[in-house]
């Protein structure tokens, strides 16, 4: 088995959906974008990127077309489906709720320690 991503379970899907929401994009670019945007904090093992992409495509959250890139080669470009957009919104919302809740708890426990 390949090494697991450092990301919490399920976050990789959310991040991929978010990046694909910005416009059609191929797998390599997604990997690059993830690394850049997170300022190298998020290290996605590239090996687990493609299975995730295929899984999302399979669930109908992403759709893919073969298009020419700027260099003239054919690449598989992923874009968000309507279902994917809905999923992104609910997941992002629940993610934010989770973060707020977790940081609230963290702050409280700091207060308790003082």
């Amino acid at each position: 088995m390949t090494a697991k991503s450092d990301l919490p379970q399920g976050t990789l899907d959310l991040l991929i959906l978010k990046i694909a929401a910005l416009g059609p994009i191929h797998g390599y670019a997604i990997a690059q974008r993830l690394q850049q945007v997170s300022r190298d904090v998020v290290q996605v093992p590239q090996g687990s990127l493609y299975p995730a992409l295929h899984r999302l495509e399979n669930r109908g959250l992403l759709a893919a077309d073969w298009k020419e890139t700027e260099t003239g080669r054919e690449a598989k470009f992923y874009h968000l489906t309507r279902k994917g957009r809905a999923q992104l919104e609910t997941e992002a919302a629940s993610w934010r709720r989770l973060i707020e809740a977790v940081s609230l708890i963290l702050r409280m426990s700091e207060g308790g320690a003082e």
Binding site: H26, Y50, R55, K76
Partner: protein, 877 residues
């Protein structure tokens, strides 16, 4: 894209995946080169970043969600390929399995049709039958007509309720005179069953009374036969038993109460004395549970009604009550245990077949160990290997099951026809989706059963040990597993063999029993008098003596007698009796089988006279009433004292003088008579049957004829001679006594045959199993045997060595099997009349057969092992 699409276009999808990953690698490498890495290093780094491309691809394939299907397809193809490579193995496993599943499916089809399928009426589970329950004899009685009427009127929970009784007769118009079976039914009968008539209408309540216009409902069969299915049949006349009836309805095809009947007449129009007699319990009652009423509530109400009837009419109803039971139970009767017993037996055969196949598969799996280890080394997951093994056995199971269903489809009809007597609901036995579902699950379960051991083995093996050890050694665990299989097979075979042996001995023992009569050259037949004479008792008597005279004149006939019941044939007449003027309390009255006969009965049947005399022509209606008793009743009623000359009070006959004692006749059949509840027997002269019962008796009198030639040869001359003056006197249900005696053992013989076949199969399978395992084990041990021989062991030593191993397995198997067989024998004793479970000789014989056969099966591989060339064997290592 649907999963189907993805499955279908997986090749294209794989190519695209490859292209996508190549693009990724190239772009990454290009980026690295742009940052100044040399080409080779860039390619390498890009590859490392992505991980093994094949692994990524595998995970992507997994992510597609059709992976399991693809694997299944792959395993499936692989299985077919391996099966094709080993046609012998495939043929043996598939035919074994087809036999096992086929036999099990046949039994299940019968059970499904007879026991499980709901009756073909609306809301069949609400249909019940009513029985009179007596403290002494359980509930084997019908109900009397007056009691039925009271019950019908008073019951709130069982509505509607209806009654019927037997009543056949001669149909004389339209067409030739012919005896047909009939039923007398009350007006609500068809609505109880919820069955609509095919044409016309059911009886009206006002037609269900004495003196109403004679109307009749005819069966679909009779309608086709006599009216060629014409519409004009309704309203046309039907001559039946000397009266002209108007046809008002036609019953739907296949409608039956019990047995086929062609004519239905209104029960209430019957004017016989017994219709008013509260003690004559000859009425069958069916009813439907009212809306929302449970069986228990109905029982409670019936108990109440029964108590009231017992208080009001203590003479007839004391010590008895009323009980309802589901109609299906009543219809199916006593075949239930037999059917389950047979299903149990075939399941054992199937189980042995599975064990056999499991050991074959295991042998193959062991020899494929290196292949499996190689697959693991190449990256196959353990789960994947287990799945592959299970797929293989599932494919085997399903193929075998399909063949089995085919066998069952062919075999089911012959099986039903072969069934002794008539199987209830036989017309409903057919392959339907319940049966197919059963066959499918049986196949899959078998597949799982015999695939599990090899599959678990595949996952549990230590990889490198296996690769290192090579395929030539056999480990202790697999040897133990093999021995376990052989032991299981032998144990199961012991159970079936002992059961078959016990049944065989039972049939032998029972057939040698003395039936109490001389069954050779005796013909028994029902006689239906000319309907014209039935109105006048004197004419009836004359007609009967004419029948006897005419029959005597037929060449080949030695003696002729009339009787109302024929031993070992369906039909009985139980009457209470006592020896003092005052009757004992009703629940303590003993019951005897009463039979009215003519003087030559003893001569015809060959019943021995023990004391006194039998009847003669002086025992007439105006003479002193006399009876003859059998030795069983003599013992019960009079103990050691002399019975001849004593008085006996018999229910419905009054006091009579005992004039003789005769031998006991096994009326209930060779097998069942010893266990029967009513064994006492009384004979009384037919001539002393009172006038008012003459007509009733005439409807069930039979004639018994002793012949000097083959009895079936006198049937046609008898028929011709007995046609009578008006040509409408008929014979029906003609049987020889030998047929009846043999039929009374039919169910034992049938079970014995089936168990014999099953046991034979089991023995064969067990021998094949032993043979296969030993061939395999010895071939794995060739180097060891070679070494032994090189060290001085003789061929005989080697044979003994192998045989000792198989003897060990055989004896453990026999030991396990014996305990189970003893339990099975007790079960047989409970379910099959005449079986004794303690037969050490049978156990001994059957087990010796098994041990000899098993030793023979192991001798061949043992001899082969002894011919191993030590040099060659050692070099193999």
């Amino acid at each position: 894209m649907t999963w189907w699409h993805r499955l279908w276009r997986r090749k294209q999808i794989d190519e695209q995946l490859d292209k996508e990953l190549r693009f990724h690698l190239d772009r990454h490498a290009a980026d690295l080169i742009a940052r100044g890495r040399p080409l080779e290093q860039a390619t390498r780094e890009a590859r490392l970043a992505l991980g093994g491309p094949e692994q990524v691809k595998e995970e992507c394939r997994d992510a597609r969600g059709t992976r399991w299907l693809e694997d299944l397809l792959q395993d499936f193809r692989y299985t077919l390929r391996t099966l094709r490579q080993k046609p012998g193995f495939a043929a043996v496993t598939l035919s074994t399995l087809a036999l096992g599943i086929g036999a099990t499916t046949v039994m299940f089809t019968v059970i499904n049709g007879v026991l499980l399928k709901p009756l073909a009426y609306p809301e069949p589970e609400r249909l019940v039958t009513l029985h009179r329950h007596t403290e002494k004899y359980g509930d084997w009685w019908g109900v009397s007509y007056p009691n039925f009427l009271d019950c019908q009127r008073e019951s709130r929970s069982l509505t509607p309720m209806a009654a019927w009784s037997y009543g056949g007769g001669t149909v004389s118009e339209p067409g030739e005179a012919e005896y047909v079976a009939g039923r007398q039914i009350s007006s609500g009968l068809f609505s109880v069953y919820g069955v609509a008539l095919l044409r016309g209408r059911a009886f009206l309540p006002e037609e269900d009374r004495p003196g109403a216009a004679p109307v009749v409902i005819i069966s679909y069969g009779l309608w086709q036969r006599r009216y060629s299915g014409s519409r004009s049949a309704i309203g046309s006349p039907l001559g039946f038993d000397g009266k002209s009836y108007t046809v008002v309805g036609i019953a739907p095809a296949g409608f039956r109460l019990d047995g086929d009947a062609d004519v239905f007449t209104p029960l209430g129009q019957n004017t016989e004395v017994r219709m008013r007699n509260r003690e004559a319990n000859f009425i069958h009652v069916v009813a439907r549970l009212g809306p929302g009423v449970t069986l228990a509530e109905a029982q409670a109400e019936l108990a109440l009604i029964g108590r009231r009837l017992a208080e009001q009419y203590p003479k007839a109803n004391a010590a008895s009550g009323l009980q309802a039971q589901p109609l299906r139970q009543d219809l199916v009767g006593d075949v239930r245990p037999t059917l389950w017993l047979l299903l149990g037996a075939v399941s054992l055969v199937l189980l042995i077949a599975c064990v056999n196949i499991a050991s074959l598969l295991l042998a193959r799996a062991v020899s494929r160990e290196r292949e499996l280890a190689m697959r693991v080394a190449l990256g196959a997951g353990r789960g994947r290997l287990v799945r592959q093994c299970l797929t293989e056995s599932a494919v085997l199971g399903i193929c075998g099951g399909a063949l089995g269903v085919l066998l069952a489809a062919i075999g089911i009809r012959p099986f039903v026809v072969f069934w002794p007597g008539s199987l209830p609901r036989a017309e409903e036995i057919r392959l339907d989706w319940h049966v197919l579902l059963f066959a499918l699950s049986a196949s899959l379960c078998s597949g799982l059963l015999f695939g599990l051991a090899p599959a678990l083995r595949a996952s549990a093996r230590e990889l490198e040990q296996c690769l290192r050890a090579g395929a030539r050694t056999i480990t202790g665990s697999s040897r133990r597993l093999h021995s376990g299989f052989v032991i299981a097979e032998i144990a199961l075979a012991v159970v079936l063999l002992v059961a078959a042996g016990i049944l065989g001995r039972t049939v032998l023992r029972l057939s040698s029993l003395d039936p109490g009569i001389n069954i050779r050259n005796v013909l028994a037949t029902h006689v239906s008098l000319s309907p014209g004479v039935l109105e006048n008792p004197a004419q009836i008597r004359a007609a009967w003596s004419d029948v006897v005279d005419r029959a005597r004149r037929v060449p080949g006939v030695q003696s002729v007698a009339l009787t109302d019941i024929i031993p070992m044939r369906v039909g009985e007449n139980g009457l209470g009796y006592w020896t003092t003027p005052a009757p004992p309390p009703p629940n303590q009255i003993p019951i005897a089988l009463a039979s009215s006969v003519t003087p030559d009965y003893l001569k015809v049947m060959g019943v021995p006279l023990r004391q006194g005399r039998f009847f003669n022509d002086h025992d007439r209606i105006d003479a002193e009433p006399v009876v003859v008793i059998d030795e069983v009743l003599a013992q019960h009623a009079f103990g050691g004292s002399e019975p001849v000359g004593k008085r006996l009070w018999v229910q419905a006959l009054g006091p009579a003088k005992v004039v003789g004692v005769v031998g006991h006749v096994r009326h209930w059949g060779l097998a069942s008579d010893d266990q029967a509840q009513v064994r006492d027997q009384i004979y009384y002269p037919f001539a002393q049957v009172p006038d008012h019962l003459m007509r009733l008796f005439s409807s069930f009198m039979s004639m018994a004829v002793r012949t000097s030639i083959q009895p079936l040869n006198v049937v046609e001359p008898l028929r011709r001679e007995l046609r009578g003056a008006t040509g409408d006197q008929t014979l029906y249900d003609v049987r020889t006594m030998e047929e009846l005696a043999s039929a009374s053992l039919a169910s034992q013989r049938f079970l014995m045959t089936l168990f014999g076949v099953f046991a034979g199969l089991a023995l064969l399978l067990a021998c094949i199993g032993i043979y296969g395992v030993l061939v395999y084990v010895t071939s794995q041990r060739v180097p060891e045997i070679g070494l032994r021989m090189a060290l001085g062991a003789s061929a005989r030593n080697v044979i003994w060595h192998v045989l000792r191993q198989s003897l060990g397995m055989i004896f453990v198997g026999v030991g396990v099997g014996l305990a189970t067989a003893a339990a099975a024998a007790r079960l047989l004793q409970r379910l099959v009349a005449g079986v004794r479970s303690t037969e050490p000789l049978t156990f001994g014989i059957m087990i010796s057969i098994l041990v000899v056969a098993a030793l023979f099966a192991s001798f061949l591989p043992a001899r082969r092992a002894s011919r191993v060339d030590p040099m060659r064997a050692l070099r193999q290592e």
